[in-house]
Symmetry: C2
């Protein structure tokens, strides 16, 4: 089959690789219907994290089950399934505690699982899925093609934006600010709105993303950053700050923006992967009782809650995809996101 | 009147100072019945924070109202009152949001208030109390003398331990670990227990404090620290970690202990004043979805909830006081706490 392999900095290729086969009775083989490129895929693409040898890449996909092992009962061939950006048994103590990203028997796409067998990356034609019963969620029936992009966001960005809002503890009637207008930030706007926020302030400088944020439920746009951005948030909140701030970037600057935009006693929900840092400054947190909660989003735990709303068209997170390409043009997909010509690229094998 | 003045490192004196007078119609003058020495008073005592010129010190007291300004309606002369470790109007947006330590018109004992008038420290005979209606809480009647120590803890340590538990979000049936066996840590044990924790693990090496922790509701004692302490907590929690960890010390080591003792998806409630640091390490928090919440405890917001239980004898946080001295021996009170001969010293003017 063909699958995406990163060979080094800015060197993305669609290579011929072995077809996956069932390795364990708990496995499934899934034919990928749609995959995509994540902001975090750009770290190795840009060389920020080094690529020492060619490796498979991609961790978001939806697809059709081709084959299942003898112990699999929750999904069957021909099911349309959503896979979170990791695999998990969905039954261990951490999974039951709502944190399936810390599954005691889980792991990551494009790496070996705990049995030592290789697990395919998502930007390919087929994927061997370990712990298929825990990892995969089947839709009740074959979904309309138009729903595929929104279903794909449940693999990562919609669940991650939701995690920011859940981690912050967004309450009905509250004021929420969202730092970051990438796919996750835009999904965080949807999440804050559906959790009942009365006011959602989107921090964005891009006209198209501002427009989408407003359609997703943002009530205010703040274009300023740094001290000026904080001053604007203060101005919009009677000088107090936002109740909850959703940090969806992962840089020192964005975290600082988030912490200082939060009112005393408020909470920062953060999901922007901090690439090697930054440390959190404890004094501004402690003195003002601003909490910080979040992390690598356990999106598998959220699919059951979000899927019905996607199927009913109540939320349309798939609108964050602004470019669609065949898998054969995966290198261009990376380039488009790297050069900010695209917010998020959907790939069709 | 006589009041405690810190003149420099390990130089605590009871000096003659001017009697306080009403400066504003919202003021009250309170005669101090009992005060105490706080762990944070030891920072300047030890010279960790420098004392550039002699200044008044002490921030925990209960007393009897002597006199009130014309605008004061909530307390009256002869009332027995509890003062939090700061003054506040208890009506601004931050106070209403539960964070009276961030009161827009509040301030600290032993410093000037927003009108520029000096506010006495608590380790003295009398205190001018700004915003008396917001700051002070009167007991329904003159309390029995035996209740005074527990009432005094509502000024700081009991409310602070409670804040650690509330900030962590302790839930019924949960497993809570408490880092720190000082007065605040011991009060955090009480708080975790009354919020319904099924298991409270107290980390302590002192036999007397262990005994008190067990009487306060601790179910397990862990003497080990660092990696060994974390291993013990893992052992006690089926290898998962504690749901909530209450950090009541404020050092880099104690915060590290707290973060690494928390299970994935759990929360650290922290109230140990971080003296100039440390920064929080974001990676271990992010990767395991461990949140951090807390800060300088808004104890005024908790008095209404905790006072009835103190008056009824349901909780006895006053037992953290293990030494009682007359105010004239305030220097010895500091020395006893500095040399760890006392957990917490109560002072009687």
């Amino acid at each position: 089959m063909r699958a995406t392999v990163i060979h080094g900095e800015r060197d993305i290729r669609l290579d011929e690789v072995p077809d996956p086969v069932l390795a364990l009775p708990t496995d499934a083989i899934v034919r990928v219907v749609a995959a995509c490129v994540c902001g975090s895929d750009l770290w190795p693409y840009r060389g920020v994290t080094p690529t020492h040898e060619p490796r498979r890449i991609g961790h978001e996909f939806v697809g059709i089950v081709e084959e299942v092992g003898g112990a699999v009962t929750a999904v069957k061939p021909r099911d349309f399934v959503i896979a979170p950006f990791y695999h998990c048994d969905f039954s261990c103590a951490n999974c039951r505690n709502g944190v399936s990203t810390s599954c005691l028997h889980g792991g990551w796409w494009g790496a070996t699982d705990e049995s030592g067998h290789f697990v395919d990356g998502a930007q390919g034609e087929f994927v061997r899925v370990p712990n298929a019963d825990g990892t995969l969620v089947a839709t009740p029936s074959l979904p309309d093609a138009a729903l595929v992009p929104s279903l794909l966001t449940l693999a990562d960005v919609m669940g991650t934006g939701h995690h920011a809002a859940v981690s912050a503890g967004v309450t009905p009637g509250s004021t929420v600010a969202v730092v970051g207008d990438g796919a996750v930030g835009l999904c965080a706007v949807i999440a804050a709105k559906r959790l009942g926020a009365a006011r959602v302030i989107a921090m964005s400088r891009h006209p198209e993303r501002q427009a989408l944020a407003l359609e997703f439920g943002a009530t205010d746009i703040v274009e300023e950053r740094g001290d000026e951005g904080i001053a604007r948030i203060q101005e919009l909140t009677d000088g107090i700050g936002a109740d909850y701030v959703l940090e969806c970037v992962g840089t020192k600057e964005s975290m600082d923006q988030a912490i200082r935009s939060t009112r005393p006693g408020g909470m920062v929900g953060y999901v922007g992967a901090p690439n090697g840092g930054p440390e959190l400054p404890v004094r501004p947190l402690f003195n003002r009782n601003v909490g910080v909660n979040g992390g690598v989003a356990p999106v598998r735990n959220y699919i059951d809650e979000l899927l019905p709303e996607v199927l009913a068209g109540v939320i349309e997170p798939g609108r964050v995809f602004d470019v669609e390409l065949p898998l054969s043009e995966v290198a261009e997909a990376y380039a488009a996101m790297d050069e900010r010509r695209a917010t998020k690229v959907l790939l069709r094998p």
